[in-house]
């Protein structure tokens, strides 16, 4: 295979991201013998990515997030350190066609799709229309852009339940379910305000909402030279507020036949635009086995590691080869899935308080160890979770021969994870993956939002409470000092009596 250093048209790759994905990308960049550079805001100085990088360049912004959205500053940093390619990670500028074009105009490689492909798939409406035109299944919908004046009436005609989404959206932001059509106009106004704020673009579309849907997505790889393969599907139905928290592959919802159909549909969609890069085609999967195209993410996905674990394919490595102009070295026959993998997203949040984000220092951080246990994280002990960024602390990924064994291994790994100083969802995740509904694959995308009781913390057994209070009391100086002073006091009283 193509693995000698002189094949690379660049010797340094700049990572334009932060957190766990920056560290994840750097790991493969450095393993391939390339130099890894990173840009970072001052708030991220004490993170794993900055520690790992061969070159770290500080960037500034009005807010920390703004720094990572400043394309001109990032391209200047790439020039400054002699990087020949930029990896955008996910989020931030990863699906920004203008940034991709600016990177290429600067004579650098964008480790992603062409700007045209980002443009085609970045807008949900355009993407949906293109996919429908190419003959693939999409849900019945009303698109505001087709005729803004009649949007509300057309949305009403699709019928309830309806899902209203921002055209320029992603990541669950600004999505609203309408079950009662009398509330349609109010929900549209609300969704538009959120869309305007998150994406600077208030255009909406409405589509038929599939009740109790499963979210199934397919990993694809293309080289922009006519070759596209799929790297199997992922089941991502465990969500709260439209955000995934547990993902697994293979999907327990699919028969072998349905699996082949959905994976080949995804590869077909990517092939129809001669896609270049790793990407994900997302589908809504209904209880009757029907599935509709949802969107295509033209970047590496948060949950990509589970696909890597069952296939042995390093998706970042494939992204790098393709960006270097190589043809895909893998054929569909090379994708041989084996075993089962689950990912849990560890968040700084209080599940019992409606999953509100928490912040705090990472005073003690000890990831779980063991065979087939993978910990993808960007934080280090002594760091902190702040309100400046997304509250995801780490991704815990485990692999085993079958689903039951994977669930057991995940439960054990969550139990072995030590993270003190900041409230996390670790205990909740452990209860969830060992629960009967998860075991039976009954969890659909809105299940958690409808079962807030699952997130409540069970009452502590008295023995546990006593152990905690005993340990806390002895660790608190005023209490320890008072208790320890008593024998001395007896001695003192004795002396005084004499």
């Amino acid at each position: 295979m193509n693995d000698s250093l002189h094949h690379w048209p660049f010797d340094t790759v700049l990572v334009a991201n932060r957190g766990e994905i920056a560290a994840r990308v750097l790991r493969t960049v450095q393993r391939l013998g390339l130099k890894g550079a990173i840009v970072h805001h001052a708030a991220d100085r004490d993170t794993l990515g900055v520690r790992m990088a061969d070159i770290a360049i500080e960037i500034t912004g009005e807010t920390p997030v703004a720094a990572y959205l400043d394309g001109a500053q990032i391209i200047a940093a790439a020039r400054q350190c002699g990087a020949g390619a930029i990896h955008p990670g996910y989020g931030f500028l990863s699906e920004n066609a203008k940034f991709a074009a600016a990177v290429e105009a600067a004579g650098l490689r964008f480790i992603g799709p062409t700007p045209q492909q980002i443009h085609a798939m970045g807008d949900k409406v355009r993407a949906r229309n293109a996919v429908e035109k190419a003959g693939f299944p999409v849900a019945p919908s009303a698109i505001e852009d087709d005729d803004p004046a009649t949007f509300v009436a057309r949305a009403r005609a699709v019928g309830a339940p309806l899902l209203i989404k921002p055209s320029a959206g992603g990541g669950g932001k600004g999505m609203h379910i309408v079950r009662d059509l009398s509330q349609l106009e109010g929900e549209i106004a609300h969704a538009r305000s959120e869309a305007q704020r998150y994406f600077g673009d208030g255009r909406l579309f409405a589509e038929r909402y599939v009740e109790h849907p499963h979210h199934i997505e397919v990993q694809v790889l293309g080289d922009g030279q006519g070759h596209v393969i799929h790297v199997m599907e992922r089941e991502c139905s465990v969500q709260r507020r439209f955000q995934k928290i547990v993902e697994e592959t293979p999907s327990p919802s699919l028969t072998a036949e349905k699996r082949r159909e959905i994976c080949e549909t995804a590869a077909g969609i990517a092939h129809s635009i001669d896609y270049r890069n790793a990407g994900t085609v997302e589908f809504i999967f209904g209880a009757g086995g029907e599935f509709y195209f949802l969107e295509m993410n033209t970047r590496l996905q948060v949950e990509h590691p589970i696909s890597e674990e069952i296939t042995g394919i390093d998706l970042v490595e494939q992204q790098l080869w393709v960006a270097a102009g190589e043809k895909l070295a893998l054929t569909q026959a090379d994708v041989k899935p084996h075993g089962h993998a689950i990912e849990c997203r560890i968040y700084a949040e209080d599940a019992a308080r409606n999953y509100t984000p928490t912040t705090g220092p990472l005073l003690v951080l000890q990831p779980p160890a063991g065979e087939h246990v993978r910990w993808d994280s960007g934080v280090v002990e002594g760091g902190a979770v702040t309100a400046a960024f997304d509250p995801m602390i780490a991704k815990l990924i485990v692999w085993a021969e079958d689903r039951d064994a994977t669930i057991s291994r995940m439960a054990a790994a969550l139990r072995d994870t030590v993270l003190l100083g900041c409230k996390t969802n670790i205990a909740f995740l452990r209860r969830l993956v060992t629960s009967q509904p998860f075991h039976a694959n009954e969890i659909h995308t809105s299940w958690l939002d409808g079962h807030p009781e699952v997130a409540q913390e069970p009452a502590l057994p008295p023995d546990t409470l006593h152990a905690l209070l005993a340990a806390a009391a002895l660790s608190t100086k005023p209490l320890r000092d008072t208790a320890n002073a008593v024998p001395d006091l007896h001695a003192a009283i004795g002396a005084w009596r004499n």
């Binding site: 100083g421 546990t464 905690l468």
Partner: protein, 172 residues
């Protein structure tokens, strides 16, 4: 002397005393003997109620973080003096603190402005959702601590009203 620890929403009043070996936890009318020894950085072995637990434990100010049997817990030592002051002060809502970390989407009032109960003061965003913060009572705005676009942590002071007596005096 009794000391209080907060664990979640619950408060537990306890006492700690020495025993011949180790210590005793006093909780209500229960007396529970235990022994605990340190074994390395932030590690301890606790023997209590016939069980031995290997703990991870760290303190930060009044917070005690404990990993026990695969689960993390946070306890807060409530300083007896602070505890007294908080109960004595009562419930006058002069300050509005952040219920969760987030950022400011819009600020609707200025310092010195008179507001009525329920009036929108600012809009914050957290968990990708907007929340409107309203005035808890009639009053005059003393402080607006953040500008649009700024981020804050949980419990941060967002808005302060002038104390009720001052506001009445100003209006008279």
């Amino acid at each position: 002397m009794k000391s209080t620890f907060k664990l979640g929403a619950a408060e537990h009043a306890i006492e700690l005393s020495r025993a011949a070996h180790g210590y005793r936890l006093h909780l209500g009318d229960q007396v529970i003997p235990f022994e605990m020894e340190s074994c390395g950085a932030h590690r301890a072995r606790l023997r209590i109620a016939g069980h031995t637990h290997d703990l991870r434990l760290i303190t930060a100010g009044d917070d005690v973080f404990i990993q026990l049997d695969g689960e993390a817990h946070a306890l807060r030592y409530v300083d007896p003096l602070a505890h007294f002051e908080a109960t004595a002060r009562g419930g006058a809502a002069d300050t509005i603190r952040a219920p969760m970390p987030g950022s400011i989407v819009a600020v609707a009032v200025q310092e010195g402005e008179a507001v009525t109960r329920g009036q929108a003061l600012l809009v914050m965003e957290s968990m990708k959702m907007e929340t409107t913060i309203t005035a808890p009572r009639d009053g005059v705005i003393a402080t607006v601590a953040y500008e649009k676009g700024q981020t804050f942590e949980r419990d941060a002071l967002l808005v302060a009203l002038q104390p009720a007596a001052d506001a009445e005096g100003g209006a008279a």
